[in-house]
Assembly symmetry: C2
DNA sequence: TCCTATCTTGGAATAATTCTATTATATAGT
DNA sequence: ACTATATAATAGAATTATTCCAAGATAGGA
């Protein structure tokens, strides 16, 4: 879609072919890819693309609030092009990460001993479970 | 305390001097140390200790359910010798991680679209904020 | 079209973690 | 207390994730 690119034009964000490919790959992507996932995909069209470009681009997007770093997986970072407040569930079998769009903000209040010490700026709920595919396999 | 060691005697868990030092360091420790934090501490008494021993020991403890891996920090893993269900808040200034003992389990229900796909086994809430020390500094 | 700040790239550097082969030792069983 | 052996400690290499760097390339404003 052109709309993906329109968002970045004239904002001091250079739209190079590699970046455009990354933006298109991320646009609407709910798979929570790792840097390697992105790299592997972009490499199909731009075989000379480097990891540095992938990391540079996700950092630039993160700095603009267009992308989140997900820490749910102890092994590596995952990236999420949906920067709106939501949560995640990871399958402990295959590592797949899915979205959870429930708003828990009302319930996630903190005790006074914490709020007196911290100015709270955000929260994120990690759920863990086993997906249906993995349940079939282990059965 | 001897009680720390008593828990592991006669359970196929060898109590070597290095492990005892690690267990004592972790016992009641609420600082959520990294592997390096543990290594640095144990090295004071056992200068030849290796990272492999630290990682081997925390893995053994994790496998026994005596220790949790905390993923709240995108930079590195932290370890928590308190395996009971609780949550964390990290200061985005200094990286300090504090405990949150509120029980949110009642509120953290998942929509049917998620529960139909995942057998949920656990959850963890990450809070982010700025601690009072860091607020002073930035002011 | 030209200029230049910004980007891309390969490769090196860094950092976190895991692996491997060897040596050492805690502890169960005698 | 002694021994045997399963388990652990160690150094260092390997792996993996991520960042840094210097040199050449280019997007996009003037
Ligand atoms: Mn998401
Ligand atoms: Mn804790
Ligand atoms: Zn799965
Ligand atoms: Zn702080």
């Amino acid at each position: 879609m052109e709309s993906v690119l329109r968002k970045y034009r004239g904002k001091g964000f250079k739209l190079t072919p590699q970046r455009i490919a990354i933006l298109k790959f991320l646009d609407g992507n709910t798979s929570h890819p790792t840097a390697e996932d992105i790299y592997t995909e972009i490499k199909k069209k731009y075989p000379t693309v480097s990891f540095a470009t992938v990391y540079n681009t996700v950092q630039a997007l993160r700095d603009r609030g267009e992308l989140l770093e997900i820490t749910i997986d102890p092994q590596r970072k995952h990236f999420d092009p949906n920067p709106s407040a939501h949560h995640h569930i990871m399958c402990t079998g295959c590592g797949r990460i899915a979205d959870v769009f429930t708003d828990y903000s009302k319930a996630l209040t903190l005790p006074e001993e914490v709020t007196s010490e911290f100015h709270v700026t955000g929260n994120h709920v990690d759920f863990y479970g086993v997906c249906s595919d993995c349940r079939k396999k282990t059965n």
